[in-house]
């Protein structure tokens, strides 16, 4: 299983109600539903991915997260609100990541995020030594064809989630060899250098 998913599952209670924002073909939703008996819902912008998720019997809405989430009720007024909103490796591909985070916070009790770290040392070296935009295993696209349109470092991301009004309950970074480690968001420097991905539990 993907390392960020492994961390997510440590923090998701079985049978809870979960919204996967940018759910793709629903691979995470399937595990949520079939293994953890969660009430799993998804949203994704791309028709073929949604059709594929629906063909698996999942509940997915096709749409732009930053547009459609505003129609969901706020957690304060809806007893059926989502226990968790998931942003698994998708925020960097959103047109309006700040708005998406704000909406995720509005509709869910906790938000779980994984995000690639542009500040990862290999990225920094490529830019510093070659003078070229980083192309790595994780960020494998050339700059002109990448679906990832909003790059941030873990430090940048921590600034944004605080601006949006979140508390950071847990923060992890995943090293190049795939090892997850916890770090303190007040001292993110090592994580920001050695984490290829950051994983956050926000409330």
């Amino acid at each position: 299983m993907r390392k960020d998913y492994e961390i997510f599952f440590k923090h998701i209670k079985p049978q809870s109600k979960v919204l996967d924002i940018g759910c793709g073909e629903g691979e995470f939703l399937e595990i949520l539903k079939n293994v953890y008996s969660c009430h799993a819902y998804g949203i994704d912008i791309e028709s073929e991915r949604v059709a594929s998720a629906l063909s698996k019997g999942l509940s997915v809405v096709q749409g732009d997260a930053d547009k459609e989430l505003q129609f969901f009720p706020a957690k304060e007024v809806a007893p059926e609100a989502f226990d968790y909103a998931i942003l698994a490796n998708t925020l960097q591909a959103m047109k309006h990541p700040k708005e998406t985070l704000e909406q995720a916070r509005r509709v869910s009790k906790k938000t779980l995020v994984s995000i690639p770290n542009f500040g990862f040392y290999a990225n920094r070296l490529q830019l510093l030594l070659k003078g070229k935009m980083p192309v790595t295993k994780q960020l494998s696209y050339e700059w002109y064809e990448t679906p990832n349109i909003h790059f941030s470092t873990l430090t940048d991301f921590i600034v944004l989630v605080k601006k949006v009004g979140y508390n950071i309950d847990y923060s992890y970074y995943i090293t190049d060899s795939g090892v997850p480690r916890r770090f303190s968001p007040s001292t993110p420097h090592m994580a920001n250098l050695f984490g290829r991905t950051g994983v956050f539990v926000l409330s």
Binding site: S47, S55, G57, L58, V60, P73, E80
Partner: protein, 385 residues
């Protein structure tokens, strides 16, 4: 419960065709329609495909569109053509009749055996024609609800339909949520748009402007408004397709000729195609039914019954709802579907939505489409019967 046959007139030649499989409802009671008119002791024609299980938990109600009917599978008794949803229903099809029992009633106001303007008014012994009460989508569904009850089904495994059928599905999940386990709404809307009302109005005016319509009494007069109904159908048919689809299929190709005639014959294939569509339609569809059913669509505005709030309309909806739109459908647009999806999201319903890429316009839900097939079968796979 009666199961026998009735005879009806079809087309300009007033051809008599026997229509079977109907049930008489409200024999000793009456229901009040939206207009305030009361009806009782009326027939509803319906077909079933597949077997109802012991506990009657595997029934799927399919609601047909404006000019559809209960002949979803098998040979149509009037046209002799195959059913209108053969692609999606049958053994091992997305709606698997080995597993589900599919029930398709002809709508109230229809012309394939259900209570409609060409039924005989017992007071005059003549067809009702325009004395038939004006009906609404809500009335159609009310009658379907009574039918389901009469069949002993407490909860439908699913209700589904496209276009006007989708309107009926929305009515079902809003007004009778306790009787529905899941639903699929295709190429539909929670209210008829100004543009759609406008198209319907042209269709009705074309029928009524035909002198052979005879104020609705064409059967008694031995006439038939073929021209009017055919023009209505030609115009409506364009709205079911898309510009790109028409271009792909016909372009500017000429019909059985190599040069323009410099006259008003059908020079272009698209003209000839539309004329054919119009002419074959009049053979099977009743002109007065066309007036009544288009009117029912125009009157549909689900939110209006709930103080203008569509979210309130779905407040009691708890079943999974799958909404499907098609990219090239300009009659019931993706935006129309999104309004429904947003209202369902607002009421914390279990809603799914996909906009399927197709250049086949509004009619896409009737045509073979792999994405639609997968969506339907995937959605039905999660049902526990």
């Amino acid at each position: 419960m009666n199961q026998n046959t009735q005879e009806f007139f079809f087309g300009p030649s007033h051809r008599k065709v026997e229509i079977g499989d109907f049930i008489t409802l409200c024999k000793n009671s009456e229901i009040t329609l939206t207009s305030g008119a009361k009806i009782s002791n009326f027939p509803v024609a319906y077909k079933t495909f597949g077997k109802l299980n012991e506990h009657k938990t595997n029934a799927i109600l399919v609601c047909h569109a404006l000019t559809g009917d209960q002949y979803l599978l098998g040979e149509h008794p009037v046209t002799g053509k195959p059913g209108w949803w053969e692609e999606y229903v049958g053994p091992d099809k997305p709606i698997d009749t080995n597993k589900f029992c599919v029930i398709v009633p002809n709508v109230l106001g229809g012309c394939m055996g259900s209570y409609g303007p060409k039924n005989i008014n017992p007071k005059t012994n003549k067809p009702y024609n325009l004395d038939f009460p004006v009906i609404t989508i809500s009335d159609m569904v009310k009658v379907q609800h009574i039918l389901i009850e009469a069949l002993g089904i407490k909860k439908l495994a699913s209700v589904m339909g496209g276009s006007m059928g989708g309107m009926q599905v929305l009515e079902w999940i809003s007004k009778y949520p306790e009787n529905v386990n899941s639903s699929i709404v295709m190429a539909a809307s929670a209210k008829h748009s100004a543009q759609n009302i406008a198209f319907n109005e042209i269709g009705r005016q074309a029928v009524m402007a035909d002198p052979d319509w005879c104020g609705g009494n064409y059967i008694a007069e031995g006439k038939y408004p073929s021209k009017g109904l055919s023009i209505a159908r030609m115009m409506a048919h364009i709205t079911y397709l898309s510009e790109a689809g028409l271009q792909r299929k016909f372009g500017r190709k000429l019909q059985n000729k190599s040069e323009l005639s410099y006259g008003f014959d059908a020079d272009f294939q698209v003209e000839s195609y539309l004329r054919h569509q119009g002419m074959s339609f009049v053979e099977r569809f009743d002109p007065n039914s066309y007036l009544y059913i288009t009117r029912a669509m125009d009157y549909f505005d689900l939110a209006e019954d709930f103080g203008g709030s569509l979210a309130l309309a779905f407040e009691r909806t708890k079943c999974p709802v799958c909404v499907v739109s098609f990219t090239s459908d300009w009659l019931f647009t993706t935006e129309d579907s999104k309004q429904v999806v947003r209202a369902l999201s607002a009421s914390s319903s279990d809603v799914s939505f996909v906009e399927i890429v197709s250049d086949k316009g509004h009619d896409s839900f009737l045509l073979p489409d792999e994405s639609l097939a997968k969506t339907i079968s995937g959605f039905l796979s999660k049902l526990e019967l």
